[in-house]
């Protein structure tokens, strides 16, 4: 199952490679990773989508916590969260397909952000299913290029930091 881990890190050079190096060095997967500064510009938030069984996720959370530049780790799957992803899709359109492309964008509440005689660039935001769905429907028209941001997520209620001790301890 996909796990979304949100990591607050020091906003300084080299931190991304420490996190990436941790994942590659220990054979953990990264499905997607997005990074941007937080409200406090001295910190950045990374949203990491990863996969693995409970034991691996526990190790990932612990190993991230162990990194000195990591300030806080939250395993969002431990509670309710909302996730979003944005994609920019450049569709190659023959004259007879242009109306269809617009109609699909409309159905998905996507926006056309650029247009040329032969292409539309569509911006879509939503969860992964929604993005996959519009991609599937646009594919027959001919997708020229696709840029996805990777998922970002936020907890729906205040959460405690992911347990640095195993869960049963934290419950006491």
């Amino acid at each position: 199952m996909d796990h979304i881990i949100s990591v607050i890190v020091e906003n300084k050079f080299g931190v991304l490679s420490r996190v990436a190096g941790l994942f590659s060095g220990r054979g953990f997967n990264i499905e997607s990773l997005s990074v941007a500064p937080t409200l406090d510009p001295s910190m950045s938030m990374m949203t990491i989508v990863t996969t693995g069984d409970d034991r691996i996720i526990e190790q990932i959370v612990k190993q991230l916590n162990k990194l000195i530049d990591v300030i806080k780790v939250v395993d969002l799957n431990e509670s309710e969260f909302v996730e979003r992803e944005t994609a920019l899709i450049k569709v190659h359109t023959k004259p007879e397909d242009r109306a269809e492309a617009l109609r699909l964008a409309d159905i998905f509440r996507a926006r056309v952000v650029d247009s040329t005689p032969t292409t539309y660039t569509i911006e879509i935001t939503g969860d992964t299913n929604k993005i996959e769905a519009i991609i599937n429907l646009l594919q027959p028209l001919g997708i020229k290029e696709l840029a996805r941001t990777g998922r970002v997520a936020i907890a729906r209620e205040p959460v405690r930091p992911a347990a640095t001790q195993p869960k049963r301890v934290a419950k006491e």
């Binding site: 890190v9 020091e10 080299g14 490679s17 420490r18 190096g21 060095g25 034991r55 526990e58 190790q59 612990k62 190993q63 916590n65 162990k66 990194l67 000195i68 530049d69 990591v70 300030i71 640095t164 001790q165 195993p166 301890v169 006491e172």
Partner: protein, 591 residues
């Protein structure tokens, strides 16, 4: 007053109480060496290779418990020290390594002797810093020592570009530093400790499994107290030797791949494993799925990632071994009623039986060759009154040393465990000797391992580090040969070391003392003779070449299924040219 970066560097070392620096110069660190040349507070040990500097700093750290410090130049200086950093990282050795870097304006330009020091060292350091501004230098060095020595210790790199060591800044050394992303847990969870105490009270066949964490946290006394209070026998990992007195009746010696029969049997059949500062390494667990099948596991470790990494843990306690053990002993004192000895008797009797069934043993060679075990055992017996520090290299001799040296105190055992770095022992011994000039420091080396850092003989002589190096000389990479015997039908691919130098002449060439024992009867004399010399001594002891180290748990095997002697079908082949005529006339080499 403003100081240059180089002067700030020196001031910081003094404030940190560093009295020895293992170093090798180069273009971008010359300003620092120039300052070091004009002072007397920090003793600079000039090594012949940066790997030697790194291992010496490790030996210094393991023997003193303080951070070892080394200084190398950019580019090749940095790449050469990587092995030592990786070794220190695996074995949690507190180390601060300073590397030179090309001037900040040239970083990234492929300048002469430039390397991405931060990128190179990232996977093998606990943390690393690039100092871009001389104004940050003092704080960075303070942080480096803080990170290296607190929590689970480890190596830290500080990369200093040339212009940073030349530029000037006001010097102010911070009294303390804090890093918001770094807050090691020292005190264990009280409720968990109570759970652990209850489990200990209920257990019938408990075993303490002590690791290197006991030594770095200085928890030997607490461990002894716990073991004696509860009469629980103590298995030690390779890294923990000395953490518990080796000749104590509750000491089981080393466990693991080449551990004692009873240590491994006790672990396998226990109903409670109390791991203290150990990490369930694959050389200890063997086949994980069949590791301690009947046991509950208590795991005390300062590093949360160690817990549940390899095996399932029933009672995890994150904290410093010393503080957790102290608390645990306190709780137990309140609950233990009467002597635990009687309760423990059946279990301890069972262990004695295992001990009697398969003690550590070897047979003298009928042709008169010296058995490596005999040499190592005699070195132990003839030196133990002097409470020596013992370094080893990696391989068969290391395992035999671990089996036969029953060290009484911590910080006496310097060995490369996690990374298994051949060439570690000799420089590590020198590092310890630099820390304790008056102490007897031994190194048990293999002929293969020793040749990986032979050049440091010059350092030993020049810096007056009178270490005693015993070369267990079998003209093989012995452990490789053993695996080839057992798993590759005796085909000795690249394990035979042809043309091993004459170590006595080699010692002489460097200005050290060379000795040799060629017969069993000469072993004791040569040991005594070496002890009497106040100079570095290289003692070449040609041994029986085909001795294998037992017990042995084959990689991925189960802990109670040990190989105890050479299997009968074992065919030992003579490698081409193994009987070298002429130059070997005073050594016994044939099987």
């Amino acid at each position: 007053m403003k100081l240059t970066g180089a002067e700030i560097f020196l001031e910081c070392l003094k404030r940190e109480g560093v009295n020895t620096l293992f170093a090798l110069p180069g273009g971008v660190v010359l300003k620092i060496f120039d300052i070091l040349h004009q002072q007397k507070d920090v003793n600079v040990v000039l090594t012949r290779h940066e790997q030697g500097a790194g291992h010496m700093a490790e030996g210094y750290a393991k023997a003193t418990g303080k951070a070892g410090v080394c200084l190398v130049t950019s580019g090749p200086g940095m790449t050469n020290v990587i092995t030592a950093l990786a070794d220190a990282y695996m074995d949690s050795v507190p180390l601060v390594c300073f590397s030179g870097q090309v001037p900040t304006s040239l970083i990234g330009n492929d300048a002469f002797q430039e390397a991405d020091n931060i990128g190179l060292s990232r996977p093998c350091t606990k943390y690393n810093f690039l100092v871009k501004d001389v104004n940050d230098l003092a704080v960075t060095i303070k942080e480096a020592f803080y990170v290296a020595t607190t929590g689970r210790p480890g190596p830290v790199l500080v990369d200093i570009p040339k212009d940073v060591s030349m530029n000037k800044a006001d010097f102010k050394y911070p009294g303390s530093v804090s890093i918001r992303g770094y807050n090691p847990t020292y005190d264990g969870n009280k409720w968990q400790i109570k759970q652990a105490a209850e489990a200990i009270m209920k257990a019938r066949k408990p075993i303490l499994y002590a690791g290197g964490g006991v030594i770095f946290s200085g928890a030997s006394e607490e461990l002894l107290e716990l073991a004696e209070l509860t009469h629980i026998p103590v298995d030690m990992t390779l890294m923990a030797l000395g953490a518990f007195p080796g000749e104590h009746p509750l000491s089981m010696g080393m466990l693991g791949m080449h551990g004692t029969y009873w240590a491994n049997m006790a672990m396998h059949y226990s109903d409670l494993v109390i791991a203290v500062g150990a990490r369930f390494d694959d050389r200890v667990t063997g086949k994980v799925s069949e590791f301690c099948p009947q046991a509950k596991v208590i795991h005390i470790d300062i590093d949360p990632t160690s817990i549940r990494k390899n095996v399932n843990v029933d009672i995890p306690i994150v904290g410093d071994c010393k503080s957790v053990l102290r608390e645990l002993v306190q709780v137990l004192r309140a609950t233990v009623n009467g002597d635990q000895k009687d309760l423990r008797r059946p279990w301890l009797d069972q262990i004695r039986e295992w001990q009697r069934a398969h003690p550590l043993a070897y047979e003298q060679d009928p042709n008169g060759a010296i058995k490596p075990q005999h040499l190592i055992k005699r070195v132990y017996e003839l030196t133990k009154d002097r409470d020596p520090i013992v370094a080893t290299d990696v391989g068969q001799h290391q395992m035999w040393s671990a089996q036969y040296f029953k060290l009484a105190k911590p910080n006496r055992w310097l060995t490369s465990g996690g990374l298994g770095t051949m060439g570690f022992g000799f420089p590590a011994a020198m590092g310890a000797q630099a820390a304790f000039p008056g102490k007897l420091v031994l190194c048990i080396a293999g002929d293969g391992s020793f040749q990986m850092n032979t050049q440091e003989l010059a350092t030993a002589v020049v810096s007056k580090l009178p270490v005693k190096v015993f070369i267990v000389n079998n003209r093989f990479h012995g452990m490789v040969r053993q695996w080839q015997d057992l798993f590759y039908e005796g085909r000795y691919a690249s394990s035979y070391l042809d043309k091993t130098p004459d170590f006595v002449k080699l010692a002489d060439a460097y200005g050290a003392v060379g000795l040799r024992a060629s017969k069993v009867s000469e072993v004791d004399d040569v040991i005594r003779e070496a002890m009497a010399v106040d100079k570095p001594v290289l003692i070449d002891v040609p041994v029986y070449q085909y001795e294998n180290c037992y017990p042995m748990i084959p990689a991925g095997g189960c802990n109670h299924e040990m190989i105890l002697t050479d299997p009968p079908e074992l065919k030992k082949q003579q490698p081409a040219g193994a009987k070298v005529a002429g130059e070997d006339k005073d050594t016994v080499l044939t099987a």
